[in-house]
């Protein structure tokens, strides 16, 4: 069974939500039942692939041992940078190995299980915040429930441990729970329509009319793919947020009308929000601090541009090691840097940034830049170049 995809998932999601609903109304904690449901879904999703389940278990337990050990070291030995770097490296090592092995097809399916990329974020966040002194304990139940929580295990939204723990231990009044559950059901249904109806429609348009090599066809593919990607991913995220509310957890939102953004910085505040905010808090800001401390670059703007490139470059690598993802990341890095430079240096921008016509122009430009980025991301151009076309034979090219 594929989570959020197969008919059987929707059946089980509905059936297993009922007891959660009952617990919520009775003002009882939902977390232990939620833990049980998480195990049931993991079994339904991966029970037929025992090696994957084994890797998942091994990975999660490994991260837990690492985090407990680091907590101990942090408490007894203090804030030591070398230890911190080593532990952080170990926590993301499985993902790095998986990505590198993928270049050779990973025939032994090492670390191959659903959600590795997303689980790594949660573990790394804990390591970083232990170093920062924000996390002083990691109870086993909270840790495993956060890591494996079935609504967001496959593709996010990426929750944070301190927020999540607070949520599952908070006492929710009946009135609040009813509001949450109502909102959750609405978001779940909304997500189903987004993913199963709207995204499917754009996918059809894309695969019927967007497969030729003509410019018109490529443009059609680009816009249809962009909307497909949005409705598919925002739809999934909406379902994930929705069902987590029913289980008493306010999983953070992942999308907020991204296509109305007036610049690329705003776009990343509206698109895959939990990912880009993770990158902002744990990579961009820290890179910026290091660059400033070491006085790299001649001014703040140079450092910011460099930090944007590093930040988005890593985001590209995280998506995968193939050229299309790396170019996609760097494309966004360059656009963000340019945005920053224009907004700080361009007098015309400062003068007109509050004008209606100017904001609309910005929105239109941003929209097309974003769509072009998705075209890179889709790898469509590369695939077109590699597959022979009907036209080629007819023209004898």
């Amino acid at each position: 069974m594929q989570l959020f995809n197969d008919t059987s998932f929707f059946f089980w999601a509905g059936a297993l939500s009922l007891p959660a609903f009952l617990l919520g109304i009775l003002e009882k904690p939902i977390r232990y039942y939620g833990g049980l449901v998480t195990l049931i879904f993991l079994w339904l999703a991966m029970g037929k692939n025992l090696p994957a389940l084994g890797w998942l278990a091994g990975f999660t337990v490994g991260e837990y041992v690492l985090i407990r050990a680091y907590l101990h070291a942090r408490r007894t030995k203090g804030r030591q940078t070398a230890v911190y770097r080593l532990v952080l490296f170990l926590s993301i090592l499985p993902l790095i190995l998986y990505k590198i092995l993928g270049l050779w097809g990973n025939p032994h399916h090492i670390f191959a299980f659903l959600g590795l990329s997303y689980l790594t974020f949660k573990a790394a966040q804990m390591v970083i915040e232990i170093y920062d002194g924000l996390i002083e304990e990691a109870p086993a139940f909270d840790f495993f429930y956060l890591m494996l929580f079935f609504p967001d295990i496959t593709s996010g939204p990426i929750d944070r441990s301190r927020r999540f723990s607070e949520d599952i231990h908070r006492r929710i009044s009946r009135q609040e729970y009813l509001d949450m559950a109502g909102y959750g059901v609405f978001r779940f249904l909304q997500g189903m329509v987004y993913k199963q109806v709207v995204a499917a429609l754009f996918y059809t348009v894309m695969s019927w009319f967007g497969m030729d090599r003509s410019l018109g066809s490529i443009l059609l593919y680009m816009y249809a793919y962009g909307f497909y990607l949005f409705f598919d991913f925002a739809g999934y995220s909406s379902m994930a947020v929705g069902i987590s509310y029913v289980f008493g957890v306010k999983t953070p939102e992942n999308f907020r009308a991204p296509f109305v953004s007036k610049d690329m910085k705003e776009f990343w505040d509206r698109w895959h929000i939990t990912l880009s905010h993770w990158f902002r808090d744990f990579i961009f800001t820290r890179v910026m601090m290091v660059l400033t401390r070491r006085r790299v670059g001649k001014d703040k703007l140079t450092r910011a541009s460099l930090a944007f490139l590093i930040n988005m470059g890593i985001m590209g690598l995280w998506h995968g090691l193939s050229p299309c993802y790396i170019i996609y990341g760097l494309y966004h890095g360059v656009l963000l840097s340019l945005t920053e430079v224009l907004q700080k240096k361009w007098k015309f921008y400062k003068k007109h940034k509050k004008d209606r016509w100017f904001i609309w122009t910005e929105r239109i430009i941003t929209f097309h830049l974003v769509m072009f980025g998705f075209l890179i991301f889709s790898n469509h151009l590369h695939e077109l170049a590699q597959t022979p076309q009907k036209g080629d034979l007819l023209n004898g090219r």
Partner: protein
């Protein structure tokens, strides 16, 4: 410099100096409940500078992921965060 040896007024003054420097606008002194984000006076880059300066000039470490933007979006809130950190 260490905030622990400074009076509340001295810390406040120092933070306001910092904010005036970062935003380039002395309005932060007069209107201490002004929303810095909505008024476009501060952005992500400026927050980095703020955190670094707080660390260097007041000896207080605030981690980038520790606080939400809404918890640090007015001069008064920033001052409160820093004072409560000093007294922790």
């Amino acid at each position: 410099m260490d905030a622990k040896n400074m009076t509340k007024e001295e810390v406040t003054e120092m933070v306001l100096d910092l904010l005036e420097d970062i935003t380039g606008d002395e309005v932060v002194r007069e209107e201490r409940d002004i929303n810095l984000l909505e008024e476009d006076l501060i952005d992500s880059l400026d927050y980095v500078e703020l955190l670094l300066n707080v660390q260097d000039q007041l000896g207080l470490v605030i981690a980038p992921s520790e606080l939400k933007r809404e918890e640090m979006d007015t001069p008064n809130k920033i001052i409160q965060v820093i004072l409560s950190r000093r007294d922790a």
